[in-house]
Amino acid sequence: MKSSPWIRWVVAWMGVGLSGLGSLGLFLWEGGPWVISSLGLGIGLCWAAMASLYMQLRKSQRERAILDSKIVQSHKLAALGELSAGIAHEINNPLAVIGREAELMLHLLESSSQEGETSRQELLESVREVASQVERCREITQNLLNFARKMEPVFQKVDVNRLVEDMVKLVERETQGKGIQILREYDKHLEPIRTDPPGLRQVILNLLNNARQAMEQGGTIEVRTKASSSGGAEIMIRDTGCGIPQEQLPRIFDPFFTTKAHGKGTGLGLSICHGIVDRLGGRIRVKSRVGLGSTFVVELPSHPSGLEKGS
């Protein structure tokens, strides 16, 4: 793709050149109608202008995409930086203590010949201190490992209809008396699937909550489940709210991207949903029209392939 702007330039100017030459030739050779010749020249110039506009547009789009991904990247790096600093700090403290104790032990051992029993006592204390600091370090690394493991899904048999209905009931408590109606259409023949229940709950709850927040003037939320073509489950959540502008659709799953008022959203909800659905081996799709509402569809496999934990 890198060479394409040059190719377009060449093509554009070739267009101008050819049409110019053509019209000039026509004019000279036949002494023909000047209207046709200037028309040709005009078309050529238009072509060139359009090509150059198109290229500028493409260039600015590319620059914007690069900028966007750089922003996300820098947010990620900032979070990573903070995390690493935290870990480094946590581990540095016990390390400092261990270092100090080691020096003390060295000193005690070097001068031990004179003072027998007292230095033995001090040595024992030092060694104990080192052992306890090492234990502290072990706890820190264990916590980190747990943190990573906590993110791993655990697959269990789940009745999707029931899980979805549980979340709908929770949201319904909030929407009562606010002009928001919730319509359900659950597929009675939907087979249970193997997925991570709390993860899926979080996804459904987030989507329902977004739907609710998109309809401050009231409206309808439609919740539907059905078997997907691949034997898994499909969950659809549709609202009649404000909708999402077309140009923002590709970015709504990006971390920190939000259209909500300042302080109303972190911009993490949908990116978390996307991350969870991804780990569950599924997909999340969105369709939206400004002023008409949005539709989110979560598609989940009946079994996670290749990443199942447990039975």
């Binding site: 747990n146 655990v154 697959f155 549980d166 929770l170 408590r173 229940p197 709950r201 979080q202 934990k309």
Partner: protein, 127 residues
């Protein structure tokens, strides 16, 4: 599978006692705590598989207790009891790692099913 060891945390004494007794009668090993700090002490002293935790409690509320539990015992499963359930605290609970929620007054069969599923999850994680 050994019966789940359950800790129920709620500041309403009557509710707590009834719930613990009903769970015991269904073959579970159940105990009760009247506050967040008491619950945390009990969890530190003995092991549990599932905690059933009231969202609304005076002093340390359920969300705070949940945060502390997930911080210290990330694989202990927690089911939230929501009284006047709000979506925000529900979402917050789920985001902080709660396994599920049950609306008060809790239906025993419903709660039991959720406790068993939470227990299964815990044992799947242990291997």
């Amino acid at each position: 599978m050994t019966p789940p060891r359950v800790l129920v945390v709620d500041d309403e004494e009557d509710f707590l006692e009834t719930m613990v007794n009903r769970l015991k009668r269904r073959g579970l090993e159940a105990k009760g705590a009247l506050s967040g700090p008491e619950a945390l002490q009990m969890i530190a002293a003995e092991s549990f598989d599932v905690v059933v935790l009231d969202v609304r409690m005076p002093g340390m509320d359920g969300i705070e207790v949940l945060r502390e539990i997930k911080n210290r015992w990330p694989f202990l499963e927690v089911i939230m009891l929501t009284g006047h359930g709000s979506v925000e605290s529900g979402i917050q609970g789920m985001r902080l790692g709660a396994f599920d929620y049950v609306m008060k007054p809790a239906d025993l069969e419903d709660l039991l099913g959720k406790i068993l599923q939470a227990h299964e999850r815990r044992s799947l994680r242990e291997d």
